[in-house]
Symmetry: D2
Subunit: 308 residues, 4 copies
């Protein structure tokens, strides 16, 4: 890791607010975006998992990206997920997102397929060939069930098919190996998608942080990032430990009622309601929203961690 | 299992031929469809896994369904996969497929999501509410990584959200339990998607067979089905054993070169070339086509099993 | 499948009764064994998963095998599990079991290790070399997390390292392929370990059935086996369907309290108490026994299926 | 993390040298132990995964522990794995290891069983009740396929059933959560079992490091530990990055020939041969030893990282 790459810092995966009628809440989205920019974030990641993207129609995806590009108006880079099953379809989606204003696109591995390493390499090359903006690989085996190994990602980095990786693999061993294997790739950006080990990820060589919890406490993550970037690891750790505590909001939903996917995102949205940023914690269908009991537990944690 | 349900018998998941230039081979598709109907099949399943659907653009999907509906012209029912990540998107795709001529649609569980049983129930209800044609559930955990349990499917069957199940779960225990649990649902259709245990599946209560290998030998599967339906289990078993041998064509591709997904489908296409039904075994990008060596091994098996 | 192999028919994996004080219930074991032999079974499988073997000390394992060999006294073959992590340890256990009276031993794949196909082949060869009695392979990926593929098992069969397979893989596709691949191995025995698809397994070529539920209804399984062996598949299916219904006893335990492992075995033991065969449904520590509510549900099912 | 707990620092999982005839190499074991103690390690972990424990007979396990206790003679604590399937068997093994000289014992979750959280809690309580020495929990889902969650481990820590955790879960998120959840448990020791993220683990709150690679370069890990313990994170990172490079020796074996398990351990043994510590890289049966080509690659890495 030599010079800071173009894409770096805190780049939260932005949630998608919905009104109580289930529609995209355009006003709410604007308020979330301003909340994040005011918090000092270095970029925005739209249509990631935190956005409930799998549950959005094509039209809804367009609305969110168009609106965000308009609000941000170049203040920070806007990175956009191009989420579909395989190369040909991701390429199409990536072109669409670029037209709508994406400064870079993010593609996961293929999914719903039985594939191999060669096909995965070609998958990313197909996306790169389809657009003029930089392409990030998104490693999220908990969703794709196809982990992207450090060797494969390093190869894509070296051949210029990808300019960075967003890692949500929960595999810190492979993350460190990837960091070392891409050290000599100028401008390459390595992001962690995990909320609770950002200090360790930066010690391992991460250039950026993409925390869903960053929707709730953007300035906390910015402080963490800046402390680590300045080599003040004790300060980074203290901030991280506070954010680990804040992250316990994702454990508040009743797991008999709320799915694993809805629990985390629902907790972020509920916290944003409690903080007065948005007006409803409505989820995309068919996910259940958090109830008042669950919101009360979240309130306690927001207070304990200094946000309320 | 009392009266034969509306959807029953041999309903192969039709492959999607491509010309050497990679485009949908419309003439080839017509020839495959006629080959199947001449073979006596009871229906066609379009845009299943065997069609390489995850690798097709929306336009290609439309082309295939429209063209097939036109060729078939009501001779047999045409069931069409509505393949996307979650309820809202599957519903949209299901509506599109219905407009293009689908007599029924098939939806898998959600995928690329972290979900729970309640959300999965609602997922299928959303699809059912979106269309006027019957909805089948497709249980394919090797792709979705979310198995649909017998209890959940039986509940959907009883409440009328689905009219049948295509099972590719490779779980014959759950299959038998589902067969018994849906016995009292009038008109419910239980299909196995496995090529090599159709006799056992019918003994367990299957109403139909959806074998990818049926593209290659439709009459073989029709004989198997009719023998089993008539209670001649020894004849069914003999036919099945021959088809198990034929199925070894999927082991011919070199696994260092060809992915697991491409191996089976590539073998079906290559066999169809050898049988003179289509002119090219080209695969959707980025999957590798089988080479001449692999085709030669397949030829040997086609000869051994009486097809050449 | 030509001549009937030496090991064939219904060979239940015998449960291990415990007194309320947690000790092996020698009297109870004798009564279970007599119940099974009176039911017409063709052999006994001791120290299988149904015996709670992983939870037994070495001394308890010895006691059970010695006592059983004494009771059976040659009336039927006694097959014994030699359960340990790897070849050298399984070989030692297999020698011990042989000295205690085993007519054959059963070895799973290695487990708790990160292995490959060559090591697995050698694993079984090490066991075969250690004993004079025949060796069975036990395919139980739900426990070992290492499936034994049809190719590997067929190779072991052809080279004489194993004389049979007990399959609990829940993979009927691989089962059929294995049946065909071992057809030409004289005396080879293929057993299914699944309770609810024995008719289909026999249609696929199984020589025997190793159903945990056979502890509860040995004569039912003997009727099923004999009908299938005689080619009366409709009778086999009817008996199987009744046994599928009986098998719902494993769903009676409260899954918030009783583990998946304890639920099935606890249900078998509880049914045996209800049938008057044993006096306590005590489980090995730390597994929970079923309570009176759960026993009442089981009673209803025993009545419905004609056992009470 | 307040005061340094009794068990802390670098505690390598010691390899088990074998002579070319396959027997335990007593002289070699002594030399490895002295190599480690001379390297400054703070303790030894015997009969861990690096010891090839699953492939050792009971007698071999005894030999290794007895001999080590004798060599070490109290110089550093000797922690010993008590490896078996379930509580009753692990308790027996733990008692045996304590008699042979273990200062503490290490128990994994149960394995080869289908269990639940209550049974796992009782599993560890059974071990604790069986011995007078402290008990560590070993979290190694890649082997057991049963992860030990942070909540469960924290509960065991708070009730005193365990005094520490050796974590090989490759889940740095849960690791951080566990570190925070056990912060208030006096004397509790959290160890990471991963070679390449020890700096990050210590930043997260680890008290110790149990690296298999520590057999090869004990002083490197001691430097890393001491730098991190002193808060010099940049120095810790530099040392760690060198050790990540050294760790690439585990990628030298040909994966078509050598299993995943044998590759890492074989690389450690081969490096020890190259360093002149032991005389043979023989593996436990049926694992393959590394060959001369593979040893040559390892030599290059040892030179590059300053060990040769």
């Amino acid at each position: 890791m030599s010079a800071t790459p173009a894409f770096h810092g805190v780049i939260p995966p932005v949630v998608t607010p919905r009104s109580t009628d289930g529609e995209i809440d355009r006003k709410g989205l604007e308020r979330v975006v301003r909340h994040l920019i005011d918090g000092g974030v270095h970029g925005l990641f739209m249509l990631g998992s935190s956005a409930e993207t799998p549950y959005m129609s094509d039209d809804e995806r367009s609305t969110v990206v168009e609106l965000t590009a308009e609000i941000v108006n170049g203040a920070v880079p806007v990175i956009v997920g191009a989420n579909d099953q395989t190369g040909v379809r991701v390429a199409e989606e990536a072109r669409r997102m670029t037209r709508l204003g994406a400064d870079a696109v993010v593609a996961s591995s293929p999914y719903y397929v039985i594939t191999n390493q060669n096909e995965i390499l070609d998958h990313f090359r197909m996306v790169r060939d389809a657009v003029d903006v930089p392409v990030f690989a998104y490693n999220v085996p908990v969703r794709t069930h196809i982990p992207l190994g450090a060797d494969l990602l390093a190869q894509l980095a070296h051949e210029g098919a990808i300019v960075g990786v967003k890692d949500s693999s929960n595999d810190d061993v492979a993350f460190r190996q990837l960091a070392l294997a891409t050290r000599d790739v100028a401008g390459f950006s390595l992001f962690t998608g995990h909320e609770v080990v950002c200090d360790g990820a930066m010690l391992s060589g991460a250039d950026g942080i993409v925390p869903g919890l960053g929707n709730v406490d953007p300035s906390g993550y910015v402080r963490l990032y800046e402390a680590a970037a300045a080599g003040d690891w004790e300060a980074a750790r203290r901030e991280q430990d506070r954010l680990v505590d804040l992250f316990t909001i994702v454990g508040c939903p009743d797991s008999n009622r709320v799915s694993g996917g809805a629990a985390g995102l629902g907790a972020f949205k509920t916290a944003l309601v409690e903080l007065g940023v948005i007006s409803s914690n409505t989820m995309s269908k068919p996910m259940a929203a958090l109830n008042e009991n669950e919101a009360a537990s979240i309130r306690t944690i927001l207070e304990r961690t200094g946000l309320l």
